[in-house]
Symmetry: C2
Subunit: 309 residues, 2 copies
């Protein structure tokens, strides 16, 4: 991958930036950097130039901005608004698949209206992280013929703004949902059936995230299944899905390709990046991760999934 | 596979033979052929000569014996005992991952003591399906230095006869458990951790079955993860795990190899056979399945899991 020059197109990432307080069986962290855009942008930055759009409050620590800036993430689109930064307080018990929310303080995020800086409007690769689908639609109105838009959502919006979620799905190239969300939206227990239904809602590419069980890719012509990278311990699953999506969009931009084979590789790179995220709290592991380590686990993914004819 | 002559060693399969009454969202069947040994023997018979050991009652329909005999399954070890055949009555709701038992009538199975016919004692490949671990140990006492023994168990025995289950694990080469059983036995939510713990209990090979999420293989040197074969509908999941295990042991016997690469292939063949089992009730689909269809889905498994360097 490193050996050949590539097009390396930029990526636009729109989503939450927050301060998380999290408890897991492995410890507690307070007011650490979180939010979907933080995880996704960090992941995408391994492969491509990232343009981040989000909102922070007056209290957002300078060190986090320095960290993001240090990853060469373009922060022109990060607005600083009067008030406090978005905060999430949650915990995980023995079963790390289930996040429990103690408190969500939207703060400046409550009145967030994403404004895409004019210089970003023609960004070819876009990731709309999980935010209000009305805001996702507002972003789509501000970008000019992107090559590939990936959107995420969550059960809260599927319940409360189903029509708008479906409108987003009609207007993007790809969607990523976790397994429970896919089952909920499609009213089926079969993820294969859900994948087919989701394709019929508009997107050409559907990716269902299954946490420890890996991910599934559906297109009209292709189906791909990958396991997760095997870990004996997950210290904090927060941000795994956003890391995954950021890795996917970042790798597609890096190769400037949405060929079926490239999407498969992007999904495995996303899987690998997510496996590092969950090894520590917040972006602690990802922030000290090197591309060489990513390549090692990518190669390992090939070994653990291979079988002969 | 068909193009080369192979050693094709026989397989000994010990387990339940029963008559099932099952309701799923796709229909109801009454008193159909069931039991772990029936599924596993049918699956193994695609690859190898099968020697089946179990018990049936006086009421066991001749047609089922004819069916098994027609698959060239050796029924010398199937005892007919006074009384009625083992019966299971269960249903599945919308979530097909969860079987609900309405009634279990052990009948002749209650006093079943497996007797291995002398001519079977040196069978090189053995599958001990899910029965009382004391009976599994009794079988191990009757076989003479088998090359490879695979054992299954279930939550009922892990709860009630944990020490005997662990004794079985010490004496066999391989175990197969579903994900819930692995977590239960190892007191962990991490299947990777459970796999490592299970290896430390004795077996050289551990296979964790995850239903729709595929299977994981653990050895001291190897780790392998495969997804399931994608199906939009599962008509009846009964027997999937036993079909899987039968396919695994049958393929190992067919190649007379327990090399890491062969075990991976065996797991994929088991996965493919199980995908056919769940397409219909009982052994309806498996009984009309042809080896060519198995090969087609095997090739498809390679396509859906492949990704480039």
């Amino acid at each position: 991958m490193q050996s050949q020059p590539t097009p390396r197109k930029p990526v636009l990432i729109v989503g939450s930036i927050g301060l998380d307080t999290i408890e897991t069986p492995f410890g507690v962290v307070e007011e650490v950097l979180g939010g979907a855009a933080s995880y996704a942008s960090t992941a995408a930055s391994f492969f491509s130039e990232v343009r981040m759009v989000g909102v922070i409050g007056e209290d957002f620590p300078a060190e986090h901005l320095e960290y993001l800036h240090g990853r060469e993430i373009d922060l022109t689109g990060v607005q600083r608004a009067p008030g406090k930064t978005f905060r999430w307080n949650g915990f995980y018990e023995f079963d790390m698949n289930q996040a429990h929310t103690l408190a969500t303080h939207l703060n400046v995020f409550e009145h967030f209206r994403p404004t895409i800086p004019p210089a970003y409007a023609d960004t070819p690769y876009v990731f709309l992280a999980n935010i209000d689908p009305d805001l996702q639609l507002a972003v789509l109105d501000q970008v000019t013929s992107p090559k590939f838009v990936l959107a995420d959502t969550m059960n809260f919006w599927i319940d409360g703004k189903r029509d708008q979620v479906l409108e987003v799905f009609k207007r993007v190239d790809a969607v990523t949902l976790n397994d429970a969300e896919a089952r909920q939206l499609c009213d089926t227990t079969s993820l294969v059936n859900a994948g087919r239904q989701l394709l019929n809602m508009g997107p050409k590419v559907v990716i269902i995230k299954k946490g420890e069980h890996g991910a599934l890719l559906f297109t009209q012509r292709d189906y791909f299944a990958t396991p997760s990278f095997p870990l004996e311990e997950v210290h904090d699953p927060t941000g795994a899905g956003d890391t995954f999506a950021g890795g996917v969009i970042g790798y597609l931009a890096f190769t400037d390709s949405i060929a079926a084979e490239t999407i498969r590789k992007a999904i495995v790179y996303g899987t690998v990046l997510a496996s590092y995220t969950v090894e520590d709290f917040s972006l602690h592991r990802l922030s000290r991760l090197e591309l060489g380590e990513v390549m090692v686990r990518y190669a390992e993914m090939r070994r653990i999934t291979a079988f002969a004819e």
